[in-house]
Symmetry: C2
Subunit: 308 residues, 2 copies
């Protein structure tokens, strides 16, 4: 007999990893979204919010419902489901809140329907939801939210995702300051025409970062975490961002950058202890400027969405 | 007693490897330059050409002499040397003819002087010579010519070179058609402002190529060998270039592109047999259009310049 209900965890993710603007992302062990999905015997998606976050409950405006609808449409299915939000990554934090919602919705419904799709094939449906949040179709949060680990989007057309190997002791600290930056607005700040020399800098750094990750070359990783496409235009609202990067580097991090479109700031670190102390340094940076912040310390997680 | 004379081999190299415009290059086992370098007891560099290629013999215009002068200047040395060109990669072929000359000159003089520099530290001197040939300072031929293997220029400022691992059975075929393209002229064709979306395509492909090489993922290598920065502007003089790429792909190659600024065309291949047959297909492409060509089939070479 087919399962009627399922509970799914979807991890927070860091996207736009340094020079990997729109292309590189990774999954964290925590925080994450939790969602219960159950058949409701109708032909509608019903959104139920049991979290403290404010979420749109109109299925045409809720990213998870848009993603789910896209998948159901592809299957030619008219089944209805309740999507019950149990726990939610704070929206607008820059750690893939919308991607996690989209990922858990498509993963859960896919499971309830007997897994007609491989998990990798769910990415395009989840991207449809992400599009509602950011105004553009990108997959660098969606791919690691579904697949786990560090994912490279080699190409969007056709979609081509590579799961990258990386060193075992690669940890990350994300500090989320209480500042609001909306992804859609933030994208508009980025120039759409750029000098070839700027593009070559980004290419070199991204290639260096990928080479550093796949060969376990920490110094190379450290030298490569630098984004010249988006970060210079997105960090104007973060006080003394260059100083923050410098402090995190001095504290031993392997490079610091905006997580997604911010305001969260990630730092790659070697080991948990280093990640914790770098997190503390970044928290102090914000608190000394009167800004409250939350610190997440996590190993890069091989797990994407999972049934709990 | 110090050595008075040395004979050096410097390999041909493929640069601008697919999406690695200005950043990625590799060394071939053959062809290559051979040069004898000997102290001449004066304070001058004397150029002696024993090859069939036409080479400038004015030390201010000869790339090898400019590179050597740059190194000697750094050392504060007034020693003179004869640079005797014994064998020469045809200039203007696109397989790093000038880079090989620069590399053998600085490598040889460095050896004769008791190796004051590590080989990696010779790159900037050789680049000074390369600048005379192309009008711009790039290192993606120089680095593999000196160091061997596949090299990524992560950054030019500061210069940061990573030697990449790659699969053992990676071979290359280069076909050199009798067509003349000069690097300096060819660079002027490339737009200096580009759409962000074009840059992201290149970033994705270069990251994919590096990931494919370092993890031995041949299908990913094959999907990633595509240059959107330079190739579309440089292949107008090569008849039916798209068809050539397609034929090489059908014959089993892992991707085809311009070698350097052309006119040579490289194809990455798995194993010698495949490389030989792809070379034949490309030769026929040109011969059926009335263009003579030379085929080189070589394993990617771990050796850079070496004493012979």
């Amino acid at each position: 007999m087919a399962r009627e209900e399922i509970k799914i965890f979807g991890p927070a993710t860091v996207s736009n990893v340094g020079p990997g603007f729109d292309l590189l992302g990774f999954a964290l062990e925590a925080p994450g979204d939790e969602m219960i999905i159950r058949r409701n015997g109708t032909d509608k998606l019903v959104l139920i919010n049991k979290t403290e976050s404010k979420l749109p409950l109109d299925p045409e405006k809720n990213v998870a419902a848009v993603a789910a609808t896209s998948m159901l449409h592809k299957l030619g299915s008219c089944e209805g489901f309740d999507l019950i939000f149990i726990s939610k990554i704070p929206p607008g934090s820059g750690v893939g809140s919308s991607a996690a919602s989209c990922a858990v919705a498509v993963m859960g419904i896919n499971e309830l329907m007997g897994a007609p799709f491989d998990i990798a094939d769910l990415v395009p449906f989840a991207m449809e939801g992400e599009k509602v949040a950011s105004g553009s179709t990108h997959a660098d949060n969606i791919a690691p939210a579904l697949l786990g680990g560090i994912t490279l989007i080699r190409s969007y057309d056709p979609l081509d995702i590579k799961h990258l190997p990386y060193p075992d002791d690669l940890w990350c600290t994300v500090v989320h300051p209480r500042l609001e930056i909306l992804t859609g607005e933030s994208r508009k700040l980025i120039p759409q025409m750029i000098p070839l020399q700027t593009a070559l800098k980004q290419c070199g750094n991204l290639a260096g970062l990928v080479a550093g990750l796949t060969t376990g070359d920490y110094p190379l990783i450290s030298r490569s975490v630098n984004d010249v496409f988006a970060e210079p235009y997105r960090t104007t609202q973060l006080p003394d961002f260059d100083q923050l990067k410098e402090s995190a580097l001095e504290a031993g991090s392997m490079g610091t950058g905006l997580s997604g479109s911010g305001p969260s700031v990630f730092s790659l670190c070697r080991g948990e202890e280093m990640a914790a102390s770098v997190g503390q340094v970044k928290k102090e940076h914000f608190s000394s400027r009167g800004i409250e912040s939350w610190v997440y310390v996590s190993r890069i997680s091989e797990a994407g969405c999972k049934i709990i």
